[in-house]
Structures are given as structure tokens and as C-alpha cells.
Symmetry: C2
Subunit: 311 residues, 2 copies
Amino acid sequence: MDKLDVNRFLATSNSLNIADLGNSVGFMVVKNIVESMKRKIPQNKQDKVQFQVFFNDHVRNCFDTLFKSLPPNREYFAAGVPGSIHGRLFPKGTLHFVNSSYALHWLSSIPNELIDKKSPAFNKGKIFYTDSCNEVVQVYAKQFARDMEVFLNARAEELVPGGLMTLLLPCFEVKKYPLVQVVDLLGDCLMVMAEKGLLSEEKLDSFNFPRYNATPKEIEDVIRKNDRFTVEKFQSLGPPSSFVNKPPNIYMFMLFLQTSWGWLIEKHFGSEVVEQVFCLLRKRIVTSSVLTLENIKTVSECFILLRRKAT
Amino acid sequence: MDKLDVNRFLATSNSLNIADLGNSVGFMVVKNIVESMKRKIPQNKQDKVQFQVFFNDHVRNCFDTLFKSLPPNREYFAAGVPGSIHGRLFPKGTLHFVNSSYALHWLSSIPNELIDKKSPAFNKGKIFYTDSCNEVVQVYAKQFARDMEVFLNARAEELVPGGLMTLLLPCFEVKKYPLVQVVDLLGDCLMVMAEKGLLSEEKLDSFNFPRYNATPKEIEDVIRKNDRFTVEKFQSLGPPSSFVNKPPNIYMFMLFLQTSWGWLIEKHFGSEVVEQVFCLLRKRIVTSSVLTLENIKTVSECFILLRRKAT
């Protein structure tokens, strides 16, 4: 709220436009943003100002469910915007506030070097970078930086000068935090299934998990190089408090994995193997230390507040 | 295009905002509007201006299908807006052009007088106003005028001064045009089913078809009384040329009816009777004169172009 210069926005528009990107059901976040903005509206303009909120996600997202679950007493006009955050979504200079929670660690695509047999970064028999050679790690890191750059440029166009953007994403100094361990376990499962002939080795070699967990420094570097935003806040956060008291149970955790990773497995390996993959993965997770309290406590994320520069 | 004062819009915004209301898949209409607006943008501003198009329909509409069918090479940023046209959908003064095709003849709700046994307008044993007493006709007409007034007031708030709105709706001097005949046939079918005990008489008495076909004069009266728009064009159109050469075949016609009326039957009478209702209705239509060329030629609609007054 301290960083919100709503008066500056109101000089050119009585409509305050907020976008929640790549998360589609951020009703709580949006409520907080709207309420913070409302408190910064001068008394004599309180009645005139109206809010428009755009909920964005991939076209494959279920917008029908989103629209049916919109809070009934919301203080804003709602719209849905389908499309990738790695591209333009709104006309130039039409947004005052952008939020994106847990979307930027997903890569826009898998770099060809990882699946090209002739490339030094060919990631044979692996689906992630954590146990791979340095070439593979570099290809992942470069794709993340490129995607982040595209994202920042698109948002710099869409935000008004002085507009704010909050980003929340997993962010680690260490390579081996819980969800990464799960991706490694997923890789094991897929390999076992390939050995058993349940899926082709070729399919496995052409699959890489499109996610990268940047360090705080990597993220800061991209933002500073891009130079279209000032960094108002950059904060490393520990694990969510709900986790610290009680680690997630396996049922909820598998539900989360199937919702957020299921489409990916289905798209690459076909719908017929999805159930088997997650069944195998569940067994692996249960016998691993992934969901132990000690392990969960290593989870951390970055909260970043950026302001669009004036020119 | 002659009526478009795009330069006036560009004085305050480089984003031209278009809304297609209650029709959700008006890609062709939107394309025409965008192309017309583009031609009116001065040469030196051509590169700066961007379009945002809002596709609106009821929450029950399938927005997922809409988003997946968006034209790939569209010249605009697309958004979906769920909600009734009989209420506010956008912040004040944020739209430059509104279109609504074939939505305004649907009533927002069924007036209570029609289903209240003590009311002089109780529409016993009937589902429509065409064969009913004058009281019933008046209640339908008043609801249409009220809905239209609410619609005009909402759009007057949302459009910028000078903003344009095009409306297309069925519009007749005569009471008995083809689709009305079909509503009457639907009423017959429901009555037959009630007599056979396939649906309760009470359910039938509490159902009225929420549609009103206004005359051009009725529509003009509401617009003039509302006084927030100038009438730039008011044109009665004959039947679509595709119909004049060849009446719609029964298969396509039933598909249209099930898509546009099915939810209504389902909502009131329950999903278990929908198939039977449309099966019976199909038989009635086939043995009637509804789809004869002579009959179809009586179809007519109104095209109305309105401009939001300056204050």
C-alpha cells in the first residue's frame, strides 16, 4: 500500500485495471490488491473510481469454472483473458497493477538442445537438470532468463508508467528442494516404465520438465538487465506457515501434482499412461523423505515488487 | 464507418475497446467493427492504436470453447466477460463500441403476474402471449421496455461520450412470425405432456417463455424516452438472404432450437424431459408450415445504430 501512487493513475483514468496472470483463480490476492488501492483513493474520488480485473491463464484452463466461482459480492468488473504470459495479452498502457503468483518458474518451451541427440546439452535418459551436466543446466538457465525477459517486456508495454507488479515464485539457493526431488522421482518412474516397455525410450528422451528454479541472484540479474522496472522490494520468504506446522498429506499433495503436472504428462506421453505414472509416483513419494517436516521447511519463495519506470 | 468519430476517442486513449454482448462468438461482426475503426485512424496514429475486444455472454455459456476458437490472426486483444446484459459489465466510460446481436428480445425474467393465480394476467395453460388476453400481452411488453431501459442505462454508463452501439434484434409488425409459431407449438407439446402426466400442470402454469418480439415503434419509444443516445440509424431488414433462397432444413433448425432454448426447458422442467420435448416439437414442426419458404420470408429484424450523447 505504501508503494501505491493511485492518484497518479487517476489523473488519466477513473478505471483502475488489475491483471492476475497465469493463476486464474487468485480471488484472494485480487481482493487484497483492490482493498489496498481503495484506501489510497482520495475521498472526493471514492465514488467515481471503478475496478476492472482480468484473470489470465492458458487457453487450456477451465475458464467456465473460474467464471462460475467469481465471488458474488466482488467490488470489481471481472474478465477472463486466455493466453500465455510469455507474450502480449493487453493493449499498451492499460494496466495499473499486475500480479503473477507461481507462474514464472514454468518455461515457455523446452529448448531444442535438450532433445537434440547431436547437441552437447542432449539430456539423455533424464527429464530435468538437477543431475545433469553443466551444459544442460546452462540451457535451462538461459531459457528461464529469456522467458523472464519476454515477460518483463510484455508487461512493461501493458502497464502504465508507475504501474506496479508483484511476482511470487519459488526461488532457492539450493538445488535439491522438495518439489525438485519429486521431479527427479517422476524421472525415475518414467524410466522404469520405459524399461518395462510401457512407454518408448524415444518419448522419454524427447521429454524434459519445463520448469526452472532460479536463485534470487538470477532473478535480480534479469530484472536489472531489462531495466524497464525499478525494484521496490525483493524478499526471500520461508515456507508457508501452514506447512511448517504440518506437512501436506499425501492425498492433497498428489491432487496438487495431478492438477498442475497432469496435462504435461498427458500432452507428451498420452492420456493412457497418466494414471499409471501418478500411481507409481505416489508410491515413490510415500517411501521417500519428500513430505517430511524437515524437508518441507527448506521450501522458500521470492516476493518481488516492481514499478514500471516512467519512460 | 461514416458515423465513427475515432479521432475523438483517440484524444483520451490509444486503446479502442469493443464489446460484443450476449452473443459470445461474434468474431465476424467484431472483425468488421475493427476494420472499420482502423480505416478511420489518422495515418500518424496507426501504429499506436491497439484494440481490446470483450466477448460477453451468460455465465452458463461455454467460454472455454469460445477462447479455443478465437481467430489466430486477430488484430485485437481478446477477453471474455461473463454476466447478464441486463446489468453493468464494465467500468464507467471504458467502451468505444458496443454490439449486441439477437440478445435483447430475451427477457431478463418472467414477471410474477404471469404465474400468480390471483393476477388478471395469470397465463393459465399457456407459455406465451400470442394467444393470450390483453393483460398478458401488456405484462410482456412492459417487461421488455423495462429490460431495454436497464440495458440502455448500463451501456450509457459504460460507453464513452460519442461511443457507438449497434443492435440487431427480431422486430415485427405482425404477431405470428415463424419463431413465434414454434413457441406456440412448444406450448402445445408441453400441454400434451402435462395431460399425459409426463410433467406436472403446476410446472406448466409456472412457465412462460421469456421472449418478446417488439415492433419497431416500441423499440424507438424506449430509446427516445431513455434519452441518453441519439438514433443514427434505424432500419428494418427483411429475412437473411440465405433463408430466402432456401429455407433452413429441419436438422439445422432443431440444432439451433436445442442450443438456444434447451437450457430454458432443462432449468424449469428438469433435464429428464428435454429430449422428449424436442422430439415431440420436431414432429410438430415437420407437419406444420413453419419452415416453408413463404413463411420464412416473413422473418424481419431491426438494425439500430445509436450514439452515446455527450453528457
